[in-house]
Homo-oligomer: 775 residues x 2
């Protein structure tokens, strides 16, 4: 690899930009299927918890234009899931949340399918519902999953059959009681985070078609084409080569399109459609009812510290409102558990992080995988305890900040990290300590701060792979299994391949995902693509580079070490000969004796992170069990209208240690997007649920931040302390950028007003009432 | 690799069988494009040779529903070709055969497109035409390509500007005059082969769509997706990553779908269709007018031999009726030249093989690439000379048969070959020497014999590549760039991967071709896939096998040499441990210390044949210039009705030295298919051209053999003398099987009647007239 970087570290334009601004980019709904296409609609439970007495589909079946009707009763043992298989494709006899699909129709038009769904008659017997995780933990609470003990689950998920706990992650580091005993101050607090939804611009769309040989092709707007292939194939007993998932461009995901949420519902319809393709396209309202939500959280935090501001002990109880099925959520609970110190060195730590069944919508992953929820609680509590001992919250964070060699919650030493530098940079840029005057007498300004950390998907998870091939004209085709859902994965992969190969960016094209052809990728989640897929791309490109240099060296009778590739030309430092890739990329080269060497040049790479052991079930301890951490910090300046309670975010300054910014502009746009989405969840977002019933399931009633609401100034800072196993030292940063925003804003509101809002969102109403209460 | 073969060499069913018998197999015309699809029609020249005075497209353009009209004048410098770029996408100002496209229309329906084509007004000035290659060689013949000297061409193609010769291949081995001087007998003969067409079941269909970023996707029924990408991209100045060729199943090709014949015509339409897909689907009649034909041939052969039957010298003049453009045909002429001894050791050989422009349809490759035409002449001549000296034709062939170490026409020694064994096996199986009595008094029986040889595509041609990846469940995805056009390429690739990996056949799936994703392949031509692509598949699977064994060996703390893979399980001979591929294919494996090894397993392979030099332009001599030869022989028994001249082929026995039959049933079905197609060209097929005008351009008038006409008995024999550079020693055999049929039938007719028909086809009329003349 070149010593001096030419492409990596530069702001090359996104590969998908032209496709997207011109409308050339194809999304699933753009794919044409001709007149044979059938349209699917789901019949969903109107009750949060009920028993199905009977389903009568006869009227629906006899509606002209209806081709297939299926119910959950036809698929009683078809469990779909990644970690804990607690959910069947359709609810079989017991829907567990409002919107739980119980049947479906495929018809020649969406209108007919909708009519047919209305004609399906379902007789329900309502069951008592649970709508609060702490209520669900009471001994007399009804069991939402009496069969919990029978479900298949990953070995590191620890359900507690006979309760509503689908996973109980325990972390025991040091001696928390001893820690509290030594503490000068002990502070307890409780914080609450409601359900929110991802609200990706593109709703879920999936089309399935079965050919006469039985093979099913699924065109799916997905972050996880390979995981969908695996989970759906398993549910329906198909070998993996009988299912093909094609994922073109994806219009945002934020986790909602990870794993399988509703995609499996279309499979039974396709299997009965006699070869016709069946499309299931969710409306925005259906999206609110049918796809994943971000889980709710109730967090009790107890912290013991010295009066000098050293944290000695922390005890956490996290109760996650995981919804009617928690299969993906169980792992979020675990991630929050093993990250539960936040980016601080805490010698004694005890955490119980529990996924609790309720009759709420299904909790799935959402940008940050539990970190935004947990950090909202933790970073406010840090603020509370710092202020309690009269210490500046930034100084307090610096004092306790995790440093290289300090033991992380799971017991192994921290790798080199720029977290302290992030704290300093973010604080400096916001003008920490120098509060500016408000713009009007009835307004108050405040500064707030929060840190964060997050690890990428924790092993054991399969890794990434990539292939790189040269075309005859020296252009390069890169194939990866990762999805570009707006984050720039294609661009970063191309930059890495270009840098490794020594070719211009505009000669590289990266293929979208087709599981038949594309190399394996676990999922496009956890901010792992730049790091994990990146490693595979660098490896594959390195193989190609090696083959190129070996070939040319043989023909020129030189040593490969004396050659390099610059701008698509192989150049010898020694003989000063040069040759363009296109002159031999596929055809090979002629030796002086007239014989030929070479042939089509291609290479492949495969990456799985190095880690040593799993976590002990009782203590959560393990040797290098977490691969690495991206850390960062945000400072915000807010102005609050004391007459209305409205909060305006004036400035966000953020700094992240990304190890190495492969494309600094892409990092900075992640920081901007994260700040806006973080602000949105801080101030506006909540999926309101009354006895399990969503009451704001539309973009009229569910408020998200738009460009108009965005902070006037967002200032991003890139810190680069290289990661030993990252390409050029890179770590992921996609999710991280939204994690500290909400607690930083809450802390700033406290700074402005002296009132603390411990639950999200920080609505004007809550602030106004709190101010009223205070005065 | 296992010592004992489990899959290679066995008759596994074809991978595509189920798809094809159920109708699941998708061909280009089956792909749905939705209501935006436009339909293209070509405006074709009604004259064999003309100057375009003017083209008026105004009426066509104003027809409602017409979206695009283009003419050749818009694309004057867009030459498309593989070897000699003598043809533009459309004829610009001078169409050179009846059917030469001069303009085209894209409209919302095929009917409107047809009407619009009629409305294009072209004023032609007819030019004198040439309809016989020997006429075209006369000094006063008009020049069909006055610009011949300006065309780009491959270095090994030798056009003669100022004449109608687009390639003149010269072979000079030994001293042919000295050979004739020593000969006891010298025999001369002239033979003629007419134009025939491939008549693949699926006509040419191609759909092109340009997206807003400029990238064009071409769905093409092609044998050469990568060559189409290269040639079309070159013609339109596109980088290769701006053109994507997708080739699903192909309904036969026989060479007509190699390279580019009419596919480029759709590109200008797609470029002006504002993103709408444009489909060009040839009717059967259009197929006759527009796509390649097999070139006509006039061969003058002079042979000198001893009275004991040793051939001493041979002189050939081959004049190929190459048509209005000969770009692909020039290489056929060359292949015929360097193969012109046939499979015999001929010490003194002189051949001039010339591609000659005429105003006939364009000659392209067809099954055998010149070999069926040349062998029709050569193997009849062998029969003639053997009978002249009173020697049994089979004995004569055995005496002169090429053997290991004998010098081939290009001067290097022959590799080990089973040709003599093929002769013996074919002769024995037909009952050579024991003519059976006819079934009626007015019928006569005869036995005929012919040998053959053919080399695969001769370097310098790029090679093949392949990738193999393991799926999580241990199933295997193989990607190749070769097309399955009915020959069984997918099945053979799967067998090789299964054998190398030690997995069951039903766990392997082979992807169809998509140039964005699939590894590079030159073309699916020349019977080179089993050999060339096969080598790449074996290499790729070998990489995967190596990674599997290394991984398991490390985890088990054993040596990879002590492990093997049987039936999808890794097994240790030493410790007798075993583990299924699915247990680690993607997830890796845990070491005893709890750490993990592995990750997604994939591998790639690349193959280019070893050869040493090109051929000298004046002598056609070169060191290992031809990679290898597949040899074979056929014997036939015919019964001829002396009252009508009708020939019935009673029995065909055929033997080919395939090196190693990867799938014997596939070899035998090639032998059957080749015998039937060979018989069809022997007895029925001729594209009749009157002054360049096809007069039988329909399946009503153009007779091909059907199942009803097939020989009552076809007996195939496989000879296996391994090829050093073939996978398990395999050579290709797809084309070869039709090569000797026509001369064997002609020789059998002579044997039956004592009359020799020196031109194809051997129609009842010709035979009847010859019999009349004889008596």
């Amino acid at each position: 690899m070149s010593e001096e970087l030419k492409v990596v570290g530069t702001n090359v334009p996104r590969l998908d930009a032209l496709d997207k601004v011109t409308g050339a980019a194809k999304f699933v709904d753009d794919i044409q299927f001709g007149p044979g296409l059938l349209h699917a609609k789901l019949k969903r439970s109107p009750y949060p918890h009920a028993r199905i007495v009977c389903i009568d589909t006869r009227k629906a079946e006899s509606l002209p234009g209806v081709k297939v009707v299926v119910t959950g009763r036809d698929y009683p043992e078809h469990f779909v899931g990644l970690y804990l298989l607690d959910r069947t494709v359709y609810a079989v006899d017991r829907p567990r949340f409002v919107g739980d699909p119980v049947a479906a129709v495929a018809a020649v038009s969406e209108e007919i399918a909708e009519q047919a769904v209305e004609l399906i008659e379902v007789e329900y017997e309502e069951l008592p519902g649970l709508f609060d995780p702490e209520e669900a933990l009471k001994p007399d609470a009804p069991l939402i999953h009496p069969d919990l003990g029978k479900y298949e689950c990953a070995p590191f998920i620890l359900p507690e059959p006979g309760t509503n706990i689908s996973n109980h992650f325990k972390l025991r580091k040091g001696d928390v009681e001893a820690g509290f005993a030594q503490a000068d101050v002990i502070v307890e607090g409780t914080y609450r985070v409601p359900h929110v939804q991802h609200v990706a611009l593109e709703t879920h769309v999936v089309t399935a078609q079965q050919d006469a040989s039985g093979k099913i092709t699924l065109w799916s707007s997905s972050q996880s084409p390979f995981a969908q292939r695996a989970l759906i194939a398993k549910a329906f007993g198909l070998p993996l080569d009988q299912l093909r998932v094609i994922t073109p461009y994806v219009g945002g995901g934020f986790g909602s399109k990870a794993g399988v949420s509703m995609e499996a519902c279309v499979i039974p319809l396709a299997m009965k459609a006699r070869g016709r393709p069946v499309k299931l396209r969710l409306t925005r309202q259906e999206e609110f009812y049918t796809s994943f939500v971000r889980q709710g959280l109730v967090a009790h935090i107890k912290m013991g510290l010295t009066k000098e501001g050293k944290i000695l002990a922390q005890e956490n109880k996290f109760y996650w409102d995981a919804g009617g099925y928690t299969e993906y959520g169980v792992n979020i609970v675990r991630a929050a558990g093993y990250s539960s110190s936040g980016p601080y060195e805490i010698p004694n730590l005890k955490t119980d992080s529990c996924a609790v069944y309720t009759n709420h919508p299904v909790g799935g992953p959402m940008r940050g995988f539990g970190m935004p929820e947990m950090h909202f609680c933790l970073e406010q509590h840090i603020d509370v305890v710092a202020r309690r001992i009269g210490m500046d919250p930034v100084e307090f964070r610096l004092k306790n900040a995790i440093r290289e060699g300090a033991l992380i919650p799971t017991g192994s030493p921290m790798h080199p990290t720029g977290f302290s530098d992030c704290i300093r940079k973010a604080a400096r840029a916001v003008g920490w300590g120098k509060k500016r005057p408000p713009s009007a007498p009835h307004k108050r300004r405040g500064l707030g701060f929060a840190g964060m950390w997050k690890a990428p998907a924790m092993p054991p998870n399969p890794g990434s792979s990539a292939t790189v091939k040269l075309n005859e004209d020296g252009t390069v085709s890169v194939s990866i299994g990762a999805v570009d859902l707006g984050q720039g994965a294609l661009t970063v992969a191309a930059q890495m391949a270009a840098e490794t190969l020594g070719v211009p960016m505009d000669t590289i094209r990266v293929n979208l995902v087709d599981t038949d052809y594309s190399p394996y990728e676990w999922q496009t989640v956890a901010s792992r693509i730049t790091w994990s897929t990146g490693n595979a791309v660098v490896q594959a490109a390195g193989v190609v580079r090696g083959r190129i240099l070996d070939l040319v060296a043989e023909v020129w009778n030189e040593s490969p070490e004396d050659l390099t590739i610059i701008d698509g030309k192989v150049i010898s430092f020694k003989s000063e000969q040069e040759i363009e890739l296109k002159d031999f990329a596929v055809t090979g080269l002629q030796m002086p004796d007239g014989s030929w060497r070479g042939g089509p040049i291609l290479g492949e790479g495969s990456f799985m992170p190095t880690y040593v052991s799993g976590l002990d079930a009782e203590t959560g301890q393990g040797e290098r069990a977490v691969v690495h951490w991206t850390t960062g910090a945000q400072a915000v300046e807010v102005e609050v209208n004391t007459e209305t309670g409205e909060v305006e975010v004036l400035k966000v300054s953020a700094a992240y240690d990304v190890g190495k910014a492969i494309n600094p502009d892409l990092v900075l746009t992640q920081i901007e997007g994260g700040a806006v989405q973080g602000m949105s969840t801080a101030l506006f977002e909540e999926l309101k649920l009354e006895k399990g019933q969503p009451t704001n399931a539309s973009l009229t009633d569910y408020k998200i931040a738009t460009a108009v609401d965005a902070p006037a100034e967002i200032k991003g800072h890139i810190v680069e302390v290289p990661q030993d196993d990252g390409p050029w030292g890179a770590r992921g940063v996609g999710e991280h950028t939204m994690v500290p925003t909400a607690p930083a804003i809450a802390n700033a509101v406290y700074d402005a007003l002296g009132v603390r809002i411990t639950s999200l969102p920080l609505t004007a109403e809550k602030i106004y009432l709190a101010l009223q209460e205070k005065t």
